[in-house]
Amino acid sequence: MQHSSLLVQETVNNFTELPGIGPKSALRLVLYLLKSDPEYAKKLGSSIIELRDKIKSCKICHNISDDEVCSICNDSRREEHVLCVVENLRDLMAIEDTRQFRGRYHILGGVISPIEGVGPEELHIDSLLERIERNGVQEIIMAISPTIDGDTTIFYISKLLEGKEITISTIARGVSFGGALEYTDEITLGRSIISRIPYNS
């Protein structure tokens, strides 16, 4: 699309780089910005600049943070001896949303996948070990996607922790809540049968 204004053109191009935004949506956003209060555009622009300038990665768990240490790591009410190990920020957010976990997190930044150029040294594994050592962590919960690469990563970390006094668990894998058995794929269902749990009412 060619626009009469180069300024519009450039802003539209910048917007289309965002995920999920095509040229039409971008134009709609740009026209909205032109129509709305100029203050809004200023506010939006400066918040984006500030976001990029000031955002930090928590030096403890690698979560995004406004300070050196994120609000979760700073929250003294949260259990310090239980760590939930996740692949990325989105997984952390998903678990946070459940409100079922009151411990702390550790973001690995991916899973081991040599095809993608990710080996163990590319992940935040050293800092995890250091944390476990320093804080006397008693349990780590591996909340990592149940794929071959996810399994490899869990296996690798568990090998590094061999001989240490620590409980390693993985999140349960099985039939989804409210799901019908007949529509569950056979690998999941098979695993659910093998790793069944005692019933307590």
């Binding site: 040599p114 150029g117 080996g119 071959i148 490899t152």
Partner: protein, 371 residues
């Protein structure tokens, strides 16, 4: 025993077929036409509908007609009164989609084995003369159709193998990571090995029986499973090869090195068999595949015979058709350049045959007159 049959086929922008469709009524379908008219491509289209992959083209995108954006195949299949409509859509910039009666498969692998198929083409001579990969393909091809777990294990094994090989090429090689990959390869590989081994106990016997029938000769045929795992367990094998793997930067042992040994009177077929004996053995390998799939699935697979007379004399072709039609068979679809030759050869067999003539991508149905 159920009998599978293809009753209608439609090809859109599939190789040289811009838009071709045809009905197939009989249980023996003879497709004739000059070279380059697209006979083999019809068989490949049927194969793709059954197996989701081309048998002929190495690059899957090559099944889409040149300069076109997509290909589409539709096949109506019938077995003992049950009808199924299978549609395959394959956009050049996308992934293949297969639909069964309008419902899309979430995983292509769920489709494999639903439409069992055996294909015999002139290139199959590679089974005897080529490398081990060709023979493993025959093995996997058969087992994947009859055993879904095998398919799953094999794709997981191959995935881990790829990861392990990439890891061996990286700068820092941590033994712990290799240990993990090894244990995964062992986990998946062990199941593949067991199933292959079990398969061979049936297969070897079936092949030599069929060979005796086809050739009427007394050579002793032996088909055996050759695997490094026959002599050593997996863990020892990987441990022993680790240094070598590091140097060569790839995984040098495992079930991806398995092979099939073919012996005639205790000597390698490659070096002692005559041309005729080779042909007989080749057919035996394929018919045994047909028999095993049939027994295990209780469905008689489609048989696709490409350019049969190219490699076989009339006598052998007649014998082959006889052998296939003797038992419980569903449908045979064959191609040749010379319709008179086909007619004369299969004339003795009392099965209603469909005659299709293909010319410039158009298929016409004709009644074969006996005059």
């Amino acid at each position: 025993m159920k009998r599978l049959r293809l009753t209608h086929l439609e090809m859109i922008q599939f190789k040289n077929h811009e838009k071709t469709s045809t009905d197939l009524q009989g249980r023996l379908v003879c497709i004739t036409g000059d070279n380059g008219m697209g006979k083999t491509n019809i068989l490949d289209a049927i194969y793709v509908l059954c197996m989701s992959k081309s048998y002929i083209s190495f690059r899957q995108a090559d099944i889409i007609q040149n300069d076109k954006d997509f290909t589409r195949l539709v096949g109506s299949f019938e077995r003992n009164g049950d009808k199924d409509l299978i549609t395959l859509k394959y956009p050049r910039n996308g992934t293949k989609i297969i639909e069964k009666n309008g419902k899309k498969y979430t995983r292509l692998r769920d489709h494999i084995g639903f439409l069992p198929v055996v294909i015999i083409t002139p290139d199959d001579v590679q089974l005897l003369l080529g490398g081990s990969a060709d023979r493993r393909t025959l093995l996997d091809n058969t087992l994947c159709q009859v055993d879904r777990d095998y398919f799953t294990n094999l794709s997981q094994y191959n995935y881990v193998l790829k990861q392990r090989n990439s890891f061996l090429k990286s700068d820092i090689i941590d033994d712990k990571v290799l240990d993990i990959y090894d244990s995964k390869l062992i986990e998946f590989g062990k199941q593949i090995y067991d199933k292959r081994k079990q398969f061979f106990s049936d297969y070897a016997e079936t092949v030599s029986k069929i060979y005796a029938k086809i050739s009427g000769e007394k050579e002793d045929i032996e088909v055996t499973y050759k695997s490094q795992l026959n002599d050593q367990d997996f863990a020892t094998l990987f441990q022993g090869a680790r240094e070598k793997d590091r140097i060569l930067q790839r995984t040098t042992t495992g079930i991806h090195k398995d092979d099939m040994d073919l012996l005639m009177n205790k000597h390698p077929v490659k070096s002692v068999a005559s041309q005729g004996q080779r042909k007989s053995l080749l057919l035996s390998l394929k018919i045994a595949q047909f028999e095993i799939i049939k027994t295990q699935l209780q469905v008689s697979p489609l048989i696709l015979l490409d350019d049969l007379f190219d490699k076989l004399d009339r006598h052998r072709v007649a014998h082959l058709i006889q052998l296939l039609t003797d038992g419980d068979f569903g449908q045979i679809i064959l191609t040749d350049t010379n319709k008179t030759r086909v007619k004369e050869t299969i004339g003795a067999i009392s099965i209603d045959a469909d005659w299709l003539e293909i010319s410039n991508g158009q298929i016409s149905n004709y009644e074969y007159s006996n005059s």
